[in-house]
Every structure is written in C-alpha cells, then in structure tokens.
Symmetry: C2
Subunit: 366 residues, 2 copies
Amino acid sequence: MNQQQNYCVIMAGGIGSRFWPLSRNRMPKQFLDILGTGKSFIRSTFERFVPIVPAGNFLVVTSEQYKSLVLEHLPELRPDQVLTEPVRRNTAPCIAYAASRIAAADPEANMVVSPSDHLITGEADFQSVVREGLDFVAGTDKLLTIGIKPSRPETGYGYIQVDTAGGSEGGGGAIGKVKTFTEKPNLEMARIFVESGEFFWNSGIFVWSVSGILKAMRTYLPEVEAAFAAGRDRYGTPAEQPFVDSIYPACENISVDYGVMEKSPDVYVRCGDFGWSDIGTWGSLYQHAVRDGQGNAVGGGGEVLTYGTSGTVIHVPAGKIAVVEGLEDYLVVERDDALLICRRENEQHIRNYVEDVKYRFGEEFV
Amino acid sequence: MNQQQNYCVIMAGGIGSRFWPLSRNRMPKQFLDILGTGKSFIRSTFERFVPIVPAGNFLVVTSEQYKSLVLEHLPELRPDQVLTEPVRRNTAPCIAYAASRIAAADPEANMVVSPSDHLITGEADFQSVVREGLDFVAGTDKLLTIGIKPSRPETGYGYIQVDTAGGSEGGGGAIGKVKTFTEKPNLEMARIFVESGEFFWNSGIFVWSVSGILKAMRTYLPEVEAAFAAGRDRYGTPAEQPFVDSIYPACENISVDYGVMEKSPDVYVRCGDFGWSDIGTWGSLYQHAVRDGQGNAVGGGGEVLTYGTSGTVIHVPAGKIAVVEGLEDYLVVERDDALLICRRENEQHIRNYVEDVKYRFGEEFV
C-alpha cells in the first residue's frame, strides 16, 4: 500500500441538535469535547487517521459556517482541504463530491470516509482494521464498510448482516460479504440480531478506491455522479466553490448506505470489536463518561455540588457553579444562553424542544 | 402631627443568603425585584413611606459596600442619609445609631423603622396604620410595633401576643398593650396562636419617638445607648464615620426585639391586616408570585419553556432560555455565574449549600 495514495474524508456537517444546548448551531458536537478527553471529536478523528493518511490527503466536508472552526481544530490542513456544502444533502452527495475531488488529483487513490463525531477507544485495533481495509480495496471496485461487533441489543443503530456462507475474500480474514443492511430494529429484533452472531453495528465508516465508489455511483446514483464529474476541471481552482454551490441544491438528498451500499453486489464488511460509540445520545455519552459515587456524570468545566442527586448528567461551563439537590436520572446542561433540565429517559424529546425553542424564541437560541 | 418631625429608618444591611443565587453578596434581596413588580424591595419601601415622611428625613442603614446601590435605587436621598455600619450587629445598634443621629438634629422627632425587603400589598391601609402609630407615640415614651393579623399558622415568623384585658389606649382603637413576644413556634403552637385571636405576626416595623426609644435603650441596653450618645457632636460632620467605625465592633450583637421590646413595660402593638410578607423564603415568594396553569412561577426576565413541570419556581435572567422537563415542586434559579436546582421542600438547606459553596469555591460565588 502506497500511503501517499490514501485519502481520508471526514464528514463534519452535522449540527447535533440532540445535544442541545451543549451542541449549538454555531458550535456543533464535532467541535466539542463532551467526554472531557481534552480533544474535540473532530480532532480525535483526525489524530486517529493521521498515522495512515498523510495530513495533506485529508478532506473535511462541512458547512461554510464551520470552515474556520475546522481549520482551528485541524491547523495541519490547508484551507482548500475543507470542502463546503452550500446545503445539506446527506452522505451520498458529500461522498460524491469528495471522491470526485480526489479523483481529479489521483484517480488511483483509495479513501476512507468517517463521521467526525464518534468515539473510538481501541485506536490501535481500529487503525489495523483501516489499514487492512485499504489493502483490501486497493485496485478493486469493492466497497467496504466497517461493522462493529455488538455488545448489546442497541435499537439506536443500523445493523449489517454478514453472509456467512460466502466465506472470506481478498485475504482479509475478518472481511465478509454483506447480506443485508437493516434500519434501526426494535428491541426484540435487536436481540435476535445480536444472538445470531451475523449482525454488526453499522459504523458509517467506509473504505474503497476512489474509482470503485465513483463507478458504483455511476450505476446507482448516476445523476449525482455526473453532476460532480462535470466539475473535474474546476476542482482545486477558484471556480470550484461556485460550481459546487450551483449543483448541490439539485442533488438528491440520500445516504450512501441507501443509495449505493444496499444496491451494489460488491459490498463487504470488516467486523471490528474496538470500542466504538456514535455518542449519538446523552444516554451513550452517559455510558462513556466518568461518573462519581452517585453515578453523576459531571462535565463542562464548571464547579458542581450535588446533594441527594444520582444518575444525573451535569454540564456547566467553566467559571460557573451549579448546586443541584434532589435529582435522580436527569440531564442538567448549560451552555452560553441556554439551560436544559430534562429526565434522561426523555432525552429523545430534546429535538422537539429545540424545534419549539426555535419557533418561539428564534434561531439565536439553537 | 407635624410631618417635618417624622423620620423613617430603613434597615438595609441584609445579605439574603436564603435567596442564593438570586440574591448575591454584591446584590442582596433588597435591591432585587424578585416578584417582578418593576421595583426593587428597597424602592417599594421608600415609596410606601414617602407620603408620610419627607424624603430628606429618611435614613438608610446598610453596609459601606451597598451605599452606592442604595443611592442608585433611592436617588432622592443625599449621600449623608445613608448610614454605613462597619460590621453587622443586628437591629439594636443599628436603631441606636439612627435614633442618636436623628436626635442630634431634632430631639422631638418621631420615627418609624422598617426592614427594606418586605412585601406590603395593602399600601393605603398600611399608611393609615403608620400615621396612626406616629400620632400614638408622638410626645410619649411608648414603643409601638406593628403586628399582622395571621392568615395561617406560619412557623417562620415570630408572634406578638396582645393583652386583651388592658383594652385600647391612646386613642388608637386597634392598638393594644403587648403581653408577650414569642419566638418562631412549632406548627401546633402556631395553630393555637392563630385560633386564639390574641397573636399577631411580628412585622419588624416599629414606631416611636426618638426620645422614647433612646430612653428605653438607656434603661435596657445602656452601653449601646451610651456609645452612640457620645457621638452627638460628630453626627453630620466628617468625624461621624470614623467615630461610628470605632465604636461599632464592640457593640452588643442583639435585636431590638430581644434587647428592648421584650423588656420594656411600655410596649404596644397596632394590629393591621394589610397584605404583608417578609418574602423571607422561596416558599413565601412562591405564594406571592404569578403562576402559570401548572403552578409554575416564572421570573427573572429570561425565556422559559416547561414540559411536564409543575409547582416549580424558575428564575433565569433576561437573554437566557431555560427548557425544563419533568420537575415537580422545584426551584430552578440562575443568576450570573451560579445555578441552583433544589426541591422546594428543602429550601431551608440553601443557606448550608451557600456555606459549602463559599468554603469550597470561594467568596466570589456567594
């Protein structure tokens, strides 16, 4: 594997409204250090891949409004390594754009695509998996997704079923052909999935050759592929952004899972069991946070005193003090001009609260 | 009654730690508009008395650190009308100082003494009572306290028992001789008090002639009286503050109730039933606050959205938003750098929390 041909695309356009008010429109989750590790999620993501991919071969896809934040968190990148989408159109257009951009520079390149806001604890294991994946796809049209060995019947994730009949291929002992992608299951289904041993969590991390993914898009999302292919001569020039801004709004709003991976017959999964979480909910954050003797997860840098309080997530910013009495299994989160108090069991309603806040008091609180 | 001989002493040295973090050391309760009336407690207190007492005849006794705040809230006053105590020594030294100061200007004056942070809703009734009281004490040594007809068996107030055998005196039909002052009773006692019809809440508002109170102090607190009498020639001169600062620390720390009123045989009570509360606790604030359909009392100027929340006091400052889900009978109070969440039934612990905060994180949070 020629490391100079490895590219990494970090998708960083999310706004993380499930973590309001910690995650704000102007400072979404990927730029936060919610877990108190000392590094933002996007910084950790970069550092996870940089032993495999040269810093000059990273691309971050995000919104224009976050471009300067990305460069602040990843000062190793040149400004032209931050691609800005004028509108959000899910992962397929984002990946088509990044792959076309890379193909214009190196048609033989291989790429790994990753969300910017996940937690991975078994970093060395993860890096082995990515290296193995890059070797597996290099010079082929194979599309590889990384699956996570499930540790519990989680209903918040999509699952990938591996085809156990097919055996392994391409030298990767743990790589199997994908049989099905499934949406988020109910609990009963999730239990069956986990017990079967054939199902893995869909991490949203992909590995493929640039030519392989573009070929698959040409077949399954031809309009999206053609739109970005038309920009070949403009990529890396001042004409790039106006071109992208002109074609993006008309792109189909579709995920690469649904638009390509579930349709192509050439899709594989590498199953890993490094520690992984999408930290998509307060519940998953709570699982990974350091907790005190009463099971309270305190963070954010502020000072906290608790009395008769347990199982509660308390985040207040540095310079602030919170005295909390008599709460059991709550979220207490303050950031800037917003305070949320909510039972942990009702965290799925937070998105609705944010909508209510926006409707009633305006965008500035969101 | 010669109105020019009426003086009003407003005691404004409290720090209101029971209302932390709304009330802060640097901005105690008397300077706040906790009830959302549009006026601070001290401003309302001033306006309540100014139809009876000329603005030039007010004295406010407070700490040096609040002098400029007092003048900001009461711009009608000259700076020399704000007396500053170098240390807190309860109400007897405070009243001895103010009375001696007034006596130096007009030995024939009458004075009313009032806390700065109480709520009175029946203002016209209250003013009648004060006028009647001033007429009653003028030219006598009678000490008059204002009692409030109890509406419930409150255990948070002291009570005054009126001597029903004695009949009325001095022309004030509702004025009776005091039989006993009592400390805060337990609930059973409080019920007996209320049912008896002989007991009234002790409002901490006093009316007397300056000569009358100084004479009583000479008898019951001779050292305190003598200390302030020695300053007669210095009051109103640049020598006043150094003199006061020199004698104050050695003064006995004692209330006028305990030091004088409970000992003197010449003590009367005028029973009123204008609306009154000392707003001494969140519970009493809650009683007087406007509440929404779920019994939530929202204030402070911020924006609040509640879901499944009832009986809860929510105070957040202007420019801030709070989303509160799933609380029943709580306090949620934010101010500047501090947030308190506490069950209403545990509000009596707030003082302890404030002590803990001070000990652990320092004065700046208190």
